[in-house]
Structures are given as structure tokens and as C-alpha cells.
Amino acid sequence: MWTPVSPRLATARRILSALPLAVLVAAGAVLAALVGWPALWLIPLAGLALAAWAWVLIGRQVDAWGYAEREDDLLVRHGVLVRQLVVVPYGRMQYVDVQAGPVDRAFGIAQVQLHTASAHTDARIPGLPPEEAARLRDRLASRGEARLAGL
């Protein structure tokens, strides 16, 4: 029933999180080699450990994202530590956003976000292939129109 998001989202997020850590590891390694204190090697090691942890965590986070199109509503779930599920009736949709930042575009993913009249509705789906995002947007818009209700 649940449609997963693209694994490219994990790649994009991993690379983004790895960049600062790579700098840390490199700087730590250079420092340790120059100064010659063995204890300083803990810095690059900690960086590597952080990177490994982020790698696993991002994988689980991306796996946790999912959405399901039902007849009258859209379900979006996400979160590893704090799990969340939101149900948005199509008739309650006010508008749909499709966003893609420069990194997203480089990896060929986009984010679809649904807005209702409530500011608390947190229904965004990151990491959709652009064609799927466009399809979902059009589908949501047409379904919303068919079931449109006032407030």
C-alpha cells in the first residue's frame, strides 16, 4: 500500500552530510600527522564514526518516508525516532507545492507538499522523481477539484 520515496534522496542527503565530516576527518588527520600526538587521531576517527552513523540513520530515515494514495485522501508517513502519519482529504487541499533545490535537481528528485487551511498539516513528500512529482501534483489537483469543499 505504501509507495516509498526514491533512494536517490538517501544518496543526496548522505553526500550533503558527508561533506562537512570529510573536511573534519581530513583536517584532523593532517593535524595529527603534523603534531605527532597519537591522541589526536581520535578526531578523524570520531569524524568517521559520525559519518557511518549518519549513513545508517539517513538510510533508515529515507526508508521511513512513504505515501499512499487512497480514494479520498492521501497518507504520508515519516520519522524514525518520532514516527508521524498524516491523513489529508483531497477535498481539504488548498494548494500543492513542488520544490526542487539545486542539490535536489542534480540528483533528479523533487519535493511535493500539500497545504490545507491548517498550518499544522505537515504533509510533504521529499525525494520524488520529477516525473512522479508532476504526476502526483496533477493527480492531487484534479482529485481535489472533484471533491472541493469550502472550509
Partner: protein
């Protein structure tokens, strides 16, 4: 353009100007701001003990300051007059249109079928001159309202009646829209309002904090602590004054146009919220109000918006600042005439159990006992009750609250589970409503109960939407 002739003339589909006194009222505000800044600066100079400057320097400073004030004032007046000249509005059959702006032009259109509330506001000065501002709220987020300031009071009221009649789908043959008859349901007397404010958080903090600090100051023989509290005390007093002035003479009335609220000491406000425009209601009771069993009622109305924080809801979102339990329930029944309880059940009992009950009586589903690990104080009270018309959520042990959301006004629903809750097999259920003081949530429900509630609530909301009345509420 005055008197009876002017009144009807506004709804003729032509462009009209606002009242010619508008620029005077607006520049008065600028004058006040300039004066306040001037006085503050002067006071700062005095306080900093700058007495040693020669008198002629002081004189020159004064003359310079006066010149600056005059220039600012002149610019302000010219701008106000220009902006009045540039503003015009039109009342069409489907929408209210407003053109404004001198440099940046704005054309705003509010569709009458999207109307959420109409307010007639008279700020103090406008009240003295018999003018009023008409504000039409539509559900477009903050800053989407169309505000006509200023019209004469009579014009504003007759225009409001016209707009409401139009939005309701009422056709009338007379020259002027008939004023919907009002029936006062609840009025709040000044003594009760004062007492309720005395029993509220800010005054309690003042009453407890000031003597404490005096003792401390005496003990250490230094007035430092007392001086430190002055800004806080000033803030508390101004908050109390704001509430008192805003909620003075509060009247809740019903009319075919919907709920009508009148209140205000200096600035007088008349709000009209048509039927079905209230998205969610909260009846709540601050701790000390338990002694006289008083309650306050707030509501989410799309357009009144999210500017109001949870702790200090804006005056607009207040349906009743203070009232007895019976009065609070009366206001709730005005907003939600059909409670949708089961046959043989009394709606009053269901609401009563929601206000002060703490057991699974009156059909309330409560959270399991293991929720005490995450919510040791309020877990006994937390619970919900579903009727055929609305979802009732009761919460809070120290500050009791009952949230009521009609099924037809549900936006979206969600579940949320943190790591601790997962171990205890608990899930929080959230119902998303439009921005406002009410954010309905049932925390720490049994996981299976929450899942069932979510599924059922989605179905109930859909069914209620499908069978809810038309947007034009008189066309039923």
C-alpha cells in the same frame, strides 16, 4: 454624500471613496507617534542628567527637534491625504474590491462567498468622530482581510448588513439591507471581568512577586531587586489593562447572520461570525477560576488568524472572556446547535463530563493507565468523546480544557509517536484546524484506539462535509 442617501449608495456597484475625515484620523496617529518619540528622547536627556549644557544649546536643540517634528508631521499629513485620494472601494454582487496605495498600488478583492467574519471596529478617536472601520475576513491567511477605514458608523453597519445578506444568499427589495434581529445570550458584567482578571496569571504573579521582592529588598537593604521588577510589572499591568479594555462590556448575541460579539472600552468592536464559520472551540478554566467555576471560550475562525499565541489568544478569537459554566455551555451551543449526542442522552451531561469529569463516563474514551509514565498529572482527564456532529477532547488537570471540533470542519488528521510512547504502546492523535488558539490533540492514546479513531474520524469528516449545508447559509 451623507445620511440615508449615502448609506444605500455604497452597494450600487460603483467606486466610492472612504470618509474624508480618514486622513485626519490617520495623521493623528502619526502625530502621537512623533510626540511619543520626542517625549521619550527628552526624558532620556533629562534622565541622563544632561543639565550642564548651556541654555542656548538647549534652545537650539528644541528648535531643531520642533522643526523635525513639523516636517515629519507635514509629510505624514500629505501622505495620508494622498493615500485617501488613491483609495477607493466597490461593492459588487460577488465581491468587495479595494484599491489602495500611493507608491505601491494594491487591488484586493474579497469574494463574498468566502466570507468568514465581518467586524465593525471603532478605535477611540474614530468613536469620538462617529467613524468606524469595516473589516471583512476571508480565509486567505494573515493579511488577507479587506479593511475599509473609515466609514461613518451608520454606513459601516448598513454595509455590513448588506454584505452578510449577500453572503447568506438573502435577496431583499428594500433600499437598505435589513438588520438581522439580535438576541443577547450572555453579557459579562464589569465586576466579574475585574475579578476574573484578578484571579488570572499576571495579577497573581504581581501579587506574589511584589511582596517577595520587597522583603528581599528590605533584607539586603538595597532597592535593586525592586527596580528590576518594574519593567515586568509594567508589562503585567499593561496586559491586564489590555484585556480589561478589550473585553469590557462583552456581549454575546445571536442573529440569523450568526454569532455577534460586542465589546471594548475605548476601542469598540462588533464582530459577526456567520454560522458554520467557527472551525473549533475551546472551553478552558485557569486554575484559580475553579473556585467560582468560571470558564472562558475561544474559537478558531479562519481569517482571525494565527497571530494569537496559545497562552494569550487575541481579542478577536475570544467568544466569551469569562462566564459561568452554564454561560460557557450556552455559547458552545450557539456555535454548535446540534451536539449530535445519542438519543436519550443529554448534551449538557456530555459537555459537563468533558469540562470537569475524569473517568470514562458519558461515553468518554480515556487513555490507558500506563500513560501516567509520560503524563503523570493530567492522564486521568485526557480523553475524547465522539458524537455524530463533533469530536470532544478533554484535557488538563490544573488548567482544564475541552476542545470541540465539528466533523465537517476537520482539515486533516495525524498520528505521532515518540520513542518513549513506542515503548508504552501509546500514540498521540492530532486534529489539524485553521490557525487560532485551539489546537486539538489527544495525547498518549492506546495505539490501537488511536489508529481506530484516525480511520473513523477520516470517514466521519468526509460524510459530514458531504452533508453539510451550502456556503450561503440562508439558502438551505
Amino acid at each position: 454624500m451623507s445620511g440615508a442617501q449615502g448609506r444605500q449608495a455604497y452597494a450600487d456597484g460603483e467606486w466610492h471613496r472612504l470618509h474624508p475625515l480618514t486622513p485626519a484620523l490617520r495623521s493623528w496617529r502619526i502625530l502621537v507617534v512623533v510626540l511619543v518619540i520626542g517625549v521619550q528622547n527628552g526624558a532620556d536627556n533629562l534622565l541622563s542628567g544632561d543639565f550642564n549644557t548651556p541654555p542656548d544649546v538647549n534652545g537650539r536643540l528644541l528648535a531643531g527637534g520642533g522643526a523635525i517634528i513639523l516636517v515629519v508631521l507635514a509629510v505624514g499629513v500629505v501622505y495620508s491625504v494622498l493615500s485617501w485620494r488613491m483609495s477607493r472601494f466597490r461593492v459588487g454582487p460577488e465581491a468587495l474590491e479595494l484599491y489602495t496605495g500611493v507608491l505601491f498600488r494594491q487591488h484586493r478583492q474579497a469574494r463574498l462567498d468566502r466570507l468568514q467574519a465581518v467586524d465593525v471596529v471603532q478605535p477611540f478617536l474614530a468613536r469620538l468622530t462617529g467613524l468606524a472601520r469595516l473589516t471583512l475576513e476571508v480565509a486567505g491567511g494573515s493579511g488577507s482581510a479587506v479593511s475599509l477605514s473609515y466609514l461613518t458608523d451608520g454606513q459601516a453597519q448598513s454595509l455590513r448588513n448588506h454584505l452578510l445578506a449577500r453572503a447568506a444568499g438573502v435577496r431583499y427589495d428594500t433600499d437598505e439591507a435589513p438588520e438581522a434581529p439580535e438576541q443577547v445570550a450572555v453579557s459579562v458584567g464589569a465586576p466579574r471581568l475585574v475579578l476574573s482578571l484578578a484571579l488570572s496569571g499576571p495579577s497573581l504573579a504581581l501579587a506574589l512577586g511584589t511582596p517577595l521582592l520587597i522583603v528581599v529588598a528590605l533584607a539586603i537593604g538595597n532597592v535593586g531587586p525592586l527596580l528590576g521588577i518594574v519593567p515586568t510589572a509594567f508589562g503585567a499591568i499593561s496586559l491586564l489593562w489590555q484585556r480589561f479594555a478589550g473585553q469590557f462590556g462583552f456581549l454575546v448575541a445571536t442573529s440569523p447572520d450568526g454569532l455577534r460579539l460586542r465589546h471594548g472600552l475605548l476601542e469598540h468592536r462588533t464582530q459577526t461570525v456567520p454560522p458554520g464559520r467557527v472551525q473549533a472551540v475551546r472551553l478552558s478554566q485557569p486554575l484559580l477560576w475553579r473556585i467560582p467555576d468560571w470558564w472562558q471560550v475561544h474559537a478558531n475562525v479562519a481569517g482571525y488568524g494565527g497571530s494569537s499565541a496559545e497562552d494569550a489568544p487575541g481579542t478577536e478569537s475570544t467568544l466569551l472572556p469569562v462566564g459561568s459554566r452554564a454561560e460557557a455551555i450556552a455559547v458552545l451551543s450557539l456555535v454548535l446547535p446540534d451536539a449530535g449526542v445519542q438519543p436519550g442522552e443529554h448534551p449538557g451531561e456530555v459537555v459537563d463530563a468533558g469540562l470537569s469529569g475524569s473517568t470514562p463516563t458519558a461515553g468518554y474514551v480515556v487513555v490507558p493507565r500506563r500513560a501516567r509514565w509520560v503524563d503523570p498529572i493530567a492522564w486521568r482527564r485526557t480523553g475524547f468523546r465522539v458524537t455524530s456532529a463533533a469530536l470532544l477532547i478533554r484535557r488538563g488537570r490544573l488548567r482544564r480544557a475541552l476542545d470541540v471540533v465539528p466533523h465537517a470542519r476537520t482539515q486533516s488528521v495525524g498520528l505521532r509517536q515518540g520513542p518513549l510512547q513506542r515503548r508504552l504502546r501509546l500514540v498521540s492523535f492530532t486534529l489539524h484546524s485553521t490557525p487560532g488558539p485551539v489546537s486539538p490533540e489527544v495525547p498518549h492514546l492506546d495505539a490501537a484506539t488511536a489508529a481506530r479513531l484516525l480511520a473513523e474520524q477520516v470517514d466521519r469528516a468526509r460524510a459530514a462535509r458531504a452533508s453539510s449545508g451550502p456556503e450561503r447559509w440562508m439558502e438551505r
